[in-house]
């Protein structure tokens, strides 16, 4: 169990049988009064943000969360399927739960799946993923209008701007935290 003095940004607790993460936290204590811990919490399943005020002496159940290494298999009808690399059990997430990560999911990519009470609720990608460019316009030398970058599309359908020398079929490294180009894969 946690108590109110453990509260800080990033702490994950369980409220009404759902996992919440503390996203904002303010300690206050009026005059000779009691300590109050004013928190903003995000529901880790629905994304809904709630405000709660706790007092000294309040206790919290830690959220029963677990990260498991899984391999991305495929998606069908907006459901994304993964396989646990140790147990070979399959799990799935819906499109909302996958969120931006779908831009970087390629077959067999190893990811971390977050489980709450053994139920998959979220995904963490490796920081860097290599993806193939499937569409790139040839670069016109002397084109100064578009500056030092040009738009391309990757195998996942994700579009971004890269340096002009990147061509169709090239493999490039993307930083999944920012969605930006890092380097060309040699």
């Amino acid at each position: 169990m946690y108590n109110s003095s453990d509260l800080k940004k990033g702490l994950k607790i369980q409220i009404d049988e759902e996992p919440y993460v503390v996203i904002d936290f303010q300690f206050s204590k009026p005059g000779k009064g009691q300590s109050l811990y004013r928190c903003k919490l995000r529901n880790m399943i629905t994304g809904v943000i709630i405000d709660r005020t706790y007092r000294s002496g309040d206790a919290f159940e830690p959220a029963n969360l677990e990260q498991r290494k899984m391999q991305y298999l495929y998606n069908q009808d907006r459901v994304f399927y993964f396989m646990d690399v140790e147990t070979y059990e399959q799990s799935s997430l819906n499109e909302d739960q996958v969120g931006e990560a779908k831009n970087f999911l390629i077959d067999n990519l190893q990811v971390e799946i977050l489980l709450f009470d053994n139920r998959p609720i979220g995904i963490t990608l490796p920081n860097f993923v290599d993806l193939t460019v499937t569409r790139a316009d040839p670069w016109v030398k002397g084109d100064s209008v578009s500056g030092n970058s040009k738009p391309v599309t990757l195998e996942t359908g994700y579009a971004l701007r890269v340096p002009p020398f990147i061509e169709e079929g090239t493999k490039i490294t993307i930083d999944t935290r920012t969605g930006e180009y890092v380097t060309r894969v040699k």
Binding site: S5, F27, S28, K29, P30, G31, K32, L36, R38, G57
Partner: protein, 318 residues
């Protein structure tokens, strides 16, 4: 910035951060020097009392840090009152105080209090002296009669505002003072609904607290449901707490016993009764006293909303 956000960075980062605080640390030193000058010129005696004490004042919500069978003082109140009782009528002290578990934008577990006592006055007269002191500091520092804090202009021109706790509930809170006391939500209403409205455009004295919320204050003679206690707010920030001091020995002992009982019920450390203080109370003159948060006063003059910026080191940086 958020409190404690600066822990764990590189040596270089720490040095840069310390260097970036330079103007605030200069301001802090000048404020403390000006405070000292004010009290010296008014004939107050500056005292130092022990930080390590056997028995802090038992108050439900103030937790002392224990240190080898004794405690670090949470305020210099009891020792200063013993001096008052021994014939020192005008006393001040600027010292570090320690309170367990207090850490936030406006809180440090080790912080600086300015505490002063004066025999022969009550809390109303003390309000005038607070005004006078802060205006003195402001003029001395070249701020004049107005300071800017986070987009609020705070007008220091006398007279300042004052509002009773009961009126403040009527004006700003979603419930009455009485119902907040019954439902145990007094502090919540204070923090969320009342405090943000206090201290703009002028500093505000919030006065006459329910009797149960002032363990060391005298009750109002014409209405003993209230204690002669006030808090000073500037731009929503609580700056000082003051009382007309309780000098009735029996009543003080009863209140301490009841605070200790409440601490016991909540599973908190129960401090020994400060017997020597209680004995000295027989001789304590009618007086008023106040504790002012020096770090917060510096925050106000520095325009900084986080206490981390006005102290050299926070606990996380050690």
């Amino acid at each position: 910035m958020s409190p404690g956000s600066n822990n764990g960075d590189s040596f270089n980062g720490q040095e840069q951060r310390l260097a970036a605080k330079k103007s605030y640390l200069w301001l802090r030193a000048r404020i403390i020097q000006a405070i000292r000058l004010f009290f010296i010129e008014k004939g107050y005696l500056e005292v130092e009392t022990p930080h390590l004490i056997p028995a802090p004042a038992p108050e439900l919500h103030i937790d002392a840090i224990s240190a080898s069978k004794a405690f670090l003082h949470t305020s210099p109140e009891l020792c200063m009152k013993r001096l008052l009782s021994a014939g020192y009528p005008k006393l001040f002290q600027i010292c570090r105080c320690f309170r367990q578990g207090e850490r936030g934008e406006n809180h440090l577990p080790e912080f600086t209090i300015l505490e002063w006592y004066r025999a022969g006055i009550d809390y109303r007269e003390l309000m005038d002296e607070v005004e006078e002191m802060i205006l003195f500091v402001s003029h001395r520092l070249g701020f004049g009669e107005s300071i800017d804090f986070q987009g609020h202009a705070v007008d220091l021109k006398s007279p300042w505002h004052s509002i009773s706790v009961r009126e403040a509930f009527q004006r700003y809170a979603s419930m009455s003072m009485e119902s907040s006391m019954e439902s145990g939500r007094f502090d919540e209403a204070m923090v969320q609904e009342i405090e943000p409205n206090l201290g703009v455009p002028k500093p505000t004295f919030l006065y006459d607290y329910p009797a149960s919320l002032a363990a060391l204050a005298r009750l109002k003679q014409d209405d003993p449901a209230y204690a002669e206690r006030f808090e000073l707010y500037m731009a929503g920030l609580e700056v000082a707490n003051a009382f007309t001091e309780l000098t009735d020995v029996r009543e003080q002992r009863e209140r301490f016993e009841s605070e200790r009982e409440r601490r016991r019920q909540q599973g908190k450390t129960v401090y020994p009764l400060p017997e020597k203080f209680l004995r000295s109370l027989h001789h304590m003159p009618q007086s008023a006293g106040i504790a002012l948060g020096v770090d917060r006063l510096v925050m106000l003059f520095a325009g900084q909303p986080c206490i981390d910026q006005v102290v050299s080191f926070t606990p996380e940086e050690l």
